[in-house]
Symmetry: C2
Subunit: 227 residues, 2 copies
């Protein structure tokens, strides 16, 4: 079973109130993106890792890899105008994998259990994505006009989203449509059924400045509890 993972790190620092792209910010002394890469490498050292970065961040990333002596093997490619095109660029680098994951570069705290659940279910069923159930009441509509809905039927979607290679490679040949909000929606539009598995709560997307501190806290809790 040959696995591949495309790690998409397209963001800039604007919402982080930082000049550094958020994937380069330090989490417990190491750039966020290195944590993310390590999670997959530690699960399967033979996994092909492809990191997609904006063109103007490639040099900065290479400098960081030198500075932190980061020698986990990975390939680099540049991002496109949209996430869809970035993933497509990543897919072009993947060779002879049976299963391909797509993961957000700024989700450095995906658990080993979540990664295992996603790959195992994708192997059995073709496509698997991690989700968490909404833990507050949910409403649907607009700020001016909304209705309550049954929260037990709503799921917040995380990554990695994992697919049989043929499913995702074929799906990304479709022309882009606005309904493509994540990889699951692309693959689904091509007729593949997507299975949900349980994600992990710490698997947050680093978006706002405080997220980095929440992530540090989760990291500390993880080591306190599990080591």
């Amino acid at each position: 079973m040959k696995r591949g993972c495309i790690i998409v790190a397209g963001g800039n620092g604007s919402r982080m109130e930082s000049d550094l792209p958020k994937q380069f910010l330090l989490l417990d002394g190491l750039p966020v993106l290195m944590h993310t890469i390590l999670n997959f490498h530690n699960f399967d050292a033979a996994m092909q890792l492809v990191v997609v970065l904006p063109t103007d961040q490639i040099q900065g990333w290479e400098a960081l890899c030198q500075k932190y002596h980061f020698d986990i093997p990975h390939q680099l490619t540049t991002g496109g105008e949209t996430r869809f095109l970035s993933v497509k660029n990543g897919l072009a680098m993947v060779s002879q994998c049976d299963l391909i994951a797509v993961h957000d570069g700024v989700r450095p705290l995906v658990s080993r259990e979540t990664v295992i659940r996603c790959f195992e279910t994708a192997e059995l069923k073709g496509a698997a994505i991690p989700v968490l159930q909404a833990n507050e009441s949910v409403r649907q509509g607009t700020m001016d006009d909304s209705v309550p809905v049954d929260r037990s039927q709503y799921f917040m979607v995380q990554t990695p989203q994992v697919f049989k290679a043929s499913h995702i490679l074929e799906s990304y040949n479709q022309p882009w449509i606005p309904e493509f909000t994540d990889d699951a929606s692309v693959v689904e539009h091509a007729g593949v059924k997507v299975h949900l598995v349980t994600g992990n709560r710490e698997n947050i997307k680093i978006t706002f400045p405080e997220d980095l501190q929440i992530a540090e806290l989760f990291l500390k809790l993880r080591f306190n509890l599990k080591i």
Copy 2:
């Protein structure tokens, strides 16, 4: 404009892995429920505050109030079998208020801005609740069968939920139905339109052990940033 607030603190410690009810756990050295009460008292010292507690926690709460010299005026009443009945017991204690809020006792980090937005909008429009937009992809269905939905149309509901007194008092005369998941849904079922206002991200519900540490972090960030 006379305001009232019913603070519902019905939980036990089961999901917190604690023998103490979660509303009694210490946040930055003070029980969670005291933080919650202070948020409303500091906004309007004339507000009538009614705290609803399970019968077997009343004595423990009174002991905590003594221990922490907590002298913010508030009335106590006991909770019912369900949240609906607990709020109903709280409403029976409220007298001559124009606006009545219902707030979760375990949301100690509601911001002053959120409280103001809720009361102001309820005063103008009859009913207001704080929400945040989903910040991840959202799917609807079951773990076995789900579809992607447009996340910009989904809102996670917080408290305080604030209503013109007549609206909530009349609404709570309805017989309970399973669709009553929060106070907004009760009032709405009686024909009142509920308006959404923006909540605040730190306004989390203390549910799991790590929530208390996330809350401490938010509290620190708040003081660093704003004081």
